[in-house]
């Protein structure tokens, strides 16, 4: 079969994946915002028109990630990549995966931020205008992962692949799409929840606006880390992906993308809900503003461990030595190492986030028991970490023992 047809087929599959996945997040986020706008209006009928305006502004921001996905899908449909080498097919599928999945978290996250802004404004109608500013800052940060995904999609679509054999570079390109697409979900979603909590807190305690915005931004920055790890691996796979090699290399590149992409979901969401609870707790007990920052960061740092395991496995897979004769079991072992660590990091990352979130809330209720709460949090997180360590062990065994 001619390369031309394979590339065309790849472009159409990519466009479908891109718009299909890309439509989920924004729609859910906008639906949540619309629902809470209705609740808020029923609470304060006289504020119907400002609430509707805030709803539309918030929904417009949440729509951005879906518009990115539409743009990439249209590019994939109508750009002619067929003269660009056989790898353009995989690049098109990778671009679709990256942007489609990458739009998911940011769309939902932006929805959380705006629903809390409207609900908060129904509690404190006088600060509605300032609330919109906090909402927009929170939404802007949670849009970052979608922008990373857009960048990776463009790099994949407009790369030059002429003269490169189909494998193993195609596997590296699809791996890059997996890494960035899945890797953007948690950070976008979590960042949005943090933004929502800052708005909620602002409605309770308008005088704490500065402290809440700082806490939100620091928390969101940490929650953004998993998406940045995913971006890094995606860029490495595109720029340094091997142009020649056997089946082992192909499976290793795909495994590297899967490991960091899936591994970033849990830690991103977990870190997001930690900063959400930190913002909520500060707005209920303002005396804990200072210890809360430390507390939140310790909780988030531990919650980051699973994604760091994933990053480690991805880097080891990318830089491994695959000189030996290729065998099917050997190749599947490398792919399975990525699958094990990728999926295995989701639960512990999110679970650590839940523990840290509730610990932040507990600190708000008992400000003088910092040590006791911190100890309980760390013990619980250590236990929840164990399954990520099992996944790491299995990944190591698959890579180095069998």
């Amino acid at each position: 079969m001619d390369a031309e047809f394979i590339v065309k087929a790849g472009q159409y599959i990519g466009a479908g994946l891109c718009m299909g996945f890309g439509a989920i997040g924004a729609a859910v986020g906008e639906g949540l915002t619309g629902g809470w706008a209705n609740r808020s209006i029923s609470r304060r009928l006289e504020m119907a028109s400002p609430f509707t305006r805030t709803m539309l502004v918030g929904q417009a921001v949440a729509e951005t990630s879906a518009i990115f996905a539409l743009m990439v899908a249209v590019l994939l449909l109508f750009t002619d990549l067929s003269g660009n080498g056989i790898c353009a097919s995989a690049a098109a599928i990778g671009a679709g995966l990256a942007m489609g999945l990458g739009a998911f978290g940011s769309g939902i996250g932006a929805g959380y931020s705006s629903l809390e802004a409207i609900w908060g404004a129904s509690r404190q109608p006088l600060v509605g205008g300032q609330m919109t500013t906090t909402m927009l800052v929170g939404q802007a940060v949670c849009q970052t992962p979608a922008i990373f995904a857009l960048v990776i999609s463009f790099l994949l679509i407009f790369g030059n692949y002429s003269g490169i054999p189909a494998w193993p570079y195609s596997a590296a390109l699809i791996g890059a799409g997996f890494a960035m697409g899945f890797g953007a979900i948690g950070s976008g979603w979590g960042g949005g929840q943090a933004g929502g909590a800052a708005c909620e807190g602002f409605a309770r305690q308008p005088r704490l606006k500065g402290a809440l915005t700082t806490l939100m931004l620091v928390g969101q920055a940490v929650a953004q880390t998993p998406a940045i790890f995913a971006l890094l691996i995606a860029l490495m796979l595109i720029a340094m992906g091997p142009k020649e090699g056997n089946l082992l290399v192909s499976c290793a590149m795909l495994g590297a993308g899967i490991s960091i992409g899936l591994g970033a979901i849990g830690s991103g969401m977990g870190n997001g809900i930690t900063s959400e609870s930190a913002c909520k707790a500060v707005s209920r007990e303002s005396s804990v503003t200072r210890p809360m920052m430390t507390f939140m960061l310790v909780g988030q740092a531990v919650g980051q461990t699973p994604v760091i395991f994933s990053l480690m496995i991805s880097l080891m897979l990318i830089f491994g030595n695959y000189a030996g004769p290729p065998t099917l079991p050997g190749a599947m072992a490398l792919l399975a190492a990525g699958i094990s660590m990728g999926f295995g990091a989701i639960g512990p990352g999110y679970g650590n986030g839940i523990t840290a979130a509730k610990a932040c809330e507990a600190l708000g209720m008992q400000p003088d028991k910092t040590g006791l709460i911190m100890r309980t949090m760390l013990i619980a997180q250590a236990v929840a970490q164990s399954t990520a360590i099992y996944a790491l062990v299995i990944a190591f065994v698959l890579m180095f023992v069998v």
């Binding site: 699973p306 509730k358 028991k369 399954t387 065994v397």
Partner: protein, 82 residues
């Protein structure tokens, strides 16, 4: 590259091990985190009972860990025994 039947089975074992451990780790991770979270919340309400609450938390987490250990065992069986 020749692929024999035995190779295919080895390959399937490894892939199965990765899937078993990967998916199997999701539940215990979330579940244990949830237990830990509720324990922190309970200590926030009732700091004097911290010892009792931590003990209950650890018992619950140990039970919730079991499915993660099943996944680990199955993954190791697939890699080394079957």
């Amino acid at each position: 590259m020749d692929i024999s039947g035995a190779d295919l089975i080895r390959a399937a074992c490894f892939l199965g091990a990765g899937i078993a451990m990967g998916l199997g780790a999701i539940g215990p991770g979330v579940g244990e985190g949830f237990v830990g979270g509720k324990a922190c919340e309970a200590i926030g309400r009732n700091p004097d009972e911290a010892g009792l609450l931590t003990r209950t938390m650890l018992v619950a987490q140990a039970v919730s860990e079991s499915t993660g250990i099943y996944s680990l065992v199955v993954a190791l069986l697939l890699i080394f025994v079957v």
